[in-house]
């Protein structure tokens, strides 16, 4: 039975408490981890802002209006306008779309590829593990931003290239974390049983081991989301990320926002707040999620 339905068995092994509904789990999470719940709410708001930017934004985010350039916050423009007369609020809402797109694409693909590499490395062990981990070590020896800058200089600017440039440096980090979890799982009897039953390596890795590193995977996912948003903003601020007129938070902080920082501070303050709030929310949510999923912390 364990060999045919490994995932259920793993869940059963990992959690000996009686089964609860998702609703109970959410209520429990909100009650015991209010900060995490606030973080999750802000994350949700960001996602909704990005998805429904077209409905929520009062103006076209790329339409210039030179008669309204550098307008301070008012009823017509709640968060003011930038040097081209573009509505700051609309650009922040659409900017959420860019941030979430980069964040989720990077986190999902980066964490997943990293997890597969980490588990594979742990499963095979020996020389394969040694070779993979040394390659990962090379990547890990560079700070994230430096590696992302190097990748952008190789790939060039633009949304897709920025996603790839941020994703690649995150893969080794994901690999490292999942490998350490997978090393313990490799020794579990059901993995031995799967081997004895003659299952192929791919099936053992993907169906028996990967599902069991779900907790660190989810924690990494949330951590990567915040990191990716911050990195994208940093690259765009440096002029190496997405290009104008695409609405992006980091991009809104550069150029005229710096030139007019003293006379039109709203151009920099509000996108800066958006970045801080999003990253803070993802971090809060990620920390609480880790606490909730880590059995050692959960029992405390």
């Amino acid at each position: 039975m364990a060999l045919d339905r490994p995932l259920e068995d793993v869940v059963a092994l990992a959690d000996l408490t009686p089964e609860r509904s998702v609703k109970d789990g959410v209520v429990d999470f909100v009650r015991h981890r209010p900060l995490g719940a606030i973080g999750a709410a802000v994350v949700l708001l960001n996602i909704l802002a990005g998805v429904f930017a077209g409905v929520l934004a009062p103006y076209d985010p790329v339409a210039t209006d030179y008669a309204a350039m550098l307008s301070r916050p008012s009823l017509a423009h709640w968060l003011g306008t930038d040097a081209f007369g573009r509505d700051v609020l609309s650009r922040i809402l659409y900017g959420a779309r860019t941030a979430m797109l980069v964040g989720f694409a990077v986190a999902l693909v980066g964490a997943t590829v990293g997890a597969v590499i980490g588990v594979t490395s742990a499963y095979f062990g020996g020389r394969i593990d040694l070779a993979i981990q040394r390659v990962m070590d090379i990547f890990l020896s560079f700070p994230l931003i430096i590696l992302a800058l190097a990748m952008v200089s190789i790939l060039g600017t633009g949304l897709v290239n920025v996603i790839v440039a941020i994703m690649i440096p995150l893969i080794p980090r994901a690999s490292l974390v999942t490998r350490s979890s997978a090393l313990a799982i490799r020794e579990m009897p059901y993995v031995d049983a799967a081997r004895a039953a003659g299952y192929r390596h791919r099936r053992i890795i993907l169906r028996h081991m990967l599902p069991n590193v779900m907790a660190p995977y989810l924690i990494m996912l949330t951590a990567f989301l915040g990191q990716a948003i911050l990195l994208e903003a940093s690259l765009s601020f440096l002029g190496l990320g997405v290009a104008e007129p695409t609405p992006a938070w980091g991009l809104m902080l550069r150029g005229a926002a710096v030139q007019f920082a003293e006379t039109a501070p709203w151009m920099a303050v509000f996108p800066g707040l958006a970045i801080s709030l999003a990253v803070f929310a993802f971090n809060l949510f990620g920390d609480s999620l880790r606490d909730a999923l880590d059995p050692r912390l959960r029992t405390q």
Partner: protein, 534 residues
């Protein structure tokens, strides 16, 4: 020719008077020797060879290592007064076709060897008659040269195919650095990666992306100069960082220019410690449209792109946030050969009725089967003024249904992109070191004649018009031909798009003396006359 020169002199006066200058350079007191001049350069050099490059990123840090045969007078605000340099005098034959230059004796290269006419000839041969595989960005400027001779070690003779009123100015080009003949004989591309000239400063080091360092040439032929012990050119792309460097007095100056807001910030912060020099700028951002890419081979599409632009609104708005100002044709407004405003408005994209222009643009796109056109605009990675201009351009094109995505290319790589034709539309510029139709228009000759024609077209009619205007008997005739050239370039064929003319604002530390602003950011970069006050 005499009348041409008279008008050139008038242009000089116009350029000198037109700009409002907050404060002029303080240069009356006696020059003082010593000190290291630290200045900011907003771009790195793609190579060290000015003959092949056309960016200030080469001129600003590297010009102090070289000399040219003639130069523009460093104290002349108009930037057109020709002065001696390695050539101490010159004569022009009666028929205006032979220019004889007497070269200075006792000039040494930084390696100790003596400069002679052999070096001058080899350098000009490289510029005018480059061998295959050697790029010369200004070959098209010198197509009037028939032969260059060096009859003795200190005489250089240029024979022209026909008289040219602009030739003396061409010999004062700040790009035509004199290289050593023996080195060129061994390797024509040696100067792309090495530095060795006769200039007031000797090369110490270049750390890519960081800085250039030069030190005083003790054996400089102009005794007593340079005044500075050395210089350090810091490469700093971000304009906020540039402003911060000048504001904190870590750097004395950024020679290219700052935006109006940046000027105001510096004046407010530094008060009397800052001197502001302003000038009209013989520079315009162009949009190169690659004729080898579809549908840009269709003149209707190109015309639609120019018709979509509301240049007058752009001028009004962007002059508040960027270093651009006037709407212009192919000549700096206010100069003798500039198009009168009424005539300019007849060109495609220059009419005041923007709705009518855009309706025509939509019609042309539909007729060409290019509705919902999507293009990529490769933009030079120098934020000011390329970035604000790109936002403005993209928004204007969007209004006629053309969806344009911007791709920023590092400034050091943009020429590889432009020369290789790896783009649909791209930012380009026309910056002359002096205002003159010959110098300002040669770029637009056919690609076979001019490597800097990045729109990559062949237009024999345009080439013919270029020749004719250069040889016109009188000013009126030349004006007519320049108008005809402009009409074909910007209206009939729309080979290139002119956007807005630049406006130069250089706020600098008041300690910097002996440097005068000109309408070109390529001039006055040798730093031999610059000194630092106490």
């Amino acid at each position: 020719m005499l009348v041409s020169r008279l008008f050139l002199a008038l242009a000089v006066v116009a350029l000198a008077v037109a700009p409002a200058v907050a404060q002029g350079p303080a240069g009356d007191d006696k020059p003082r020797s010593g000190g290291e001049m630290v200045y900011v350069v907003p771009s790195d050099a793609p190579s060290y060879d000015a003959h092949r490059e056309e960016t200030f990123g080469v001129i600003h840090p590297l010009a102090p290592f070289y000399n040219t045969l003639l130069r523009t007078d460093p104290s002349d605000r108009t930037g057109v007064k020709v002065a001696p340099s390695l050539a101490e005098s010159w004569t022009i034959s009666r028929d205006g076709r032979t220019y004889t230059l007497k070269l200075r004796k006792g000039v040494k290269f930084h390696d100790g060897s003596e400069f002679t006419s052999k070096d001058a000839k080899a350098s000009y041969d490289k510029i005018v008659f480059p061998p295959p595989g050697v790029a010369s960005d200004r070959k098209g400027e010198y197509i009037d040269i028939e032969a260059i001779q060096a009859p003795d070690p200190y005489t250089l003779v240029f024979n022209l195919k026909h008289p040219s009123g602009s030739f003396l100015n061409s010999l004062a080009s700040p790009w035509n650095w004199i290289y050593k003949a023996d080195i060129l004989a061994k390797d024509m591309r040696w100067y792309e990666t090495h530095v060795m000239g006769t200039g007031p400063f000797t090369f110490v080091e270049h750390v890519r992306g960081s800085h250039f360092v030069g030190k005083k040439n003790p054996g400089y032929w102009d005794r007593g100069k340079p005044y500075l012990d050395g210089f350090r050119a810091i490469i700093m792309k971000d304009s906020a960082a540039q402003v911060a460097a000048v504001r904190s007095e870590r750097a004395f100056i950024q020679f290219r220019g700052f935006s109006p807001a940046e000027r105001d910030t510096l004046v407010q912060a530094l008060g009397k410690k800052i001197t502001v020099q302003e000038s009209a700028w013989n520079c315009a951002i162009l949009v190169a449209m690659n004729h080898e890419k579809k549908p840009l081979d269709d003149r209707r599409v190109r015309k639609a792109l120019t018709l979509a632009l509301d240049r007058y609104e752009g001028s009004k708005a962007l002059s508040r946030i960027a270093i651009v100002k006037d709407v212009s044709g192919v000549q700096v407004p206010g100069t003798p050969f500039a198009t009168p405003p009424a005539e300019l408005e007849k060109l495609a994209g220059y009419g005041r009725d923007i709705e009518k222009n855009r309706a025509e643009a939509r019609r042309l796109l539909k007729e060409a089967g290019a509705e919902n056109l999507s293009l990529t605009y490769k933009n030079r990675g120098v934020p000011m003024p390329y970035e604000p201009l790109a936002v403005w351009l993209i928004d204007n094109w969007r209004k006629v249904g053309v969806n344009v995505r911007q791709e920023v290319v590092e400034a050091v790589n943009i020429y590889a992109v432009l020369r290789g034709g790896d783009f649909e539309i791209a930012s380009d510029f026309q910056c002359g070191y002096t205002v003159d139709p010959d110098l300002d228009l040669y770029k637009f000759q056919s690609k076979e004649l001019n490597a800097a024609n990045f729109s990559r077209y062949t237009d024999k009619v345009l080439d013919d018009l270029y020749q004719k205007q250069g040889q016109a008997a009188g000013v009126e005739e030349r004006k007519k031909l320049v108008r005809e050239f402009e009409r074909r370039l910007l209206d009939e064929e729309v080979h290139y798009l002119y956007t807005l003319q630049w406006y130069r604002i250089v706020p600098h530390n008041a300690r910097v003396r002996g440097w005068t602003i000109t309408p070109s950011h390529y001039l006055n970069q040798q730093l031999d006359t610059v000194w630092l006050a106490e």
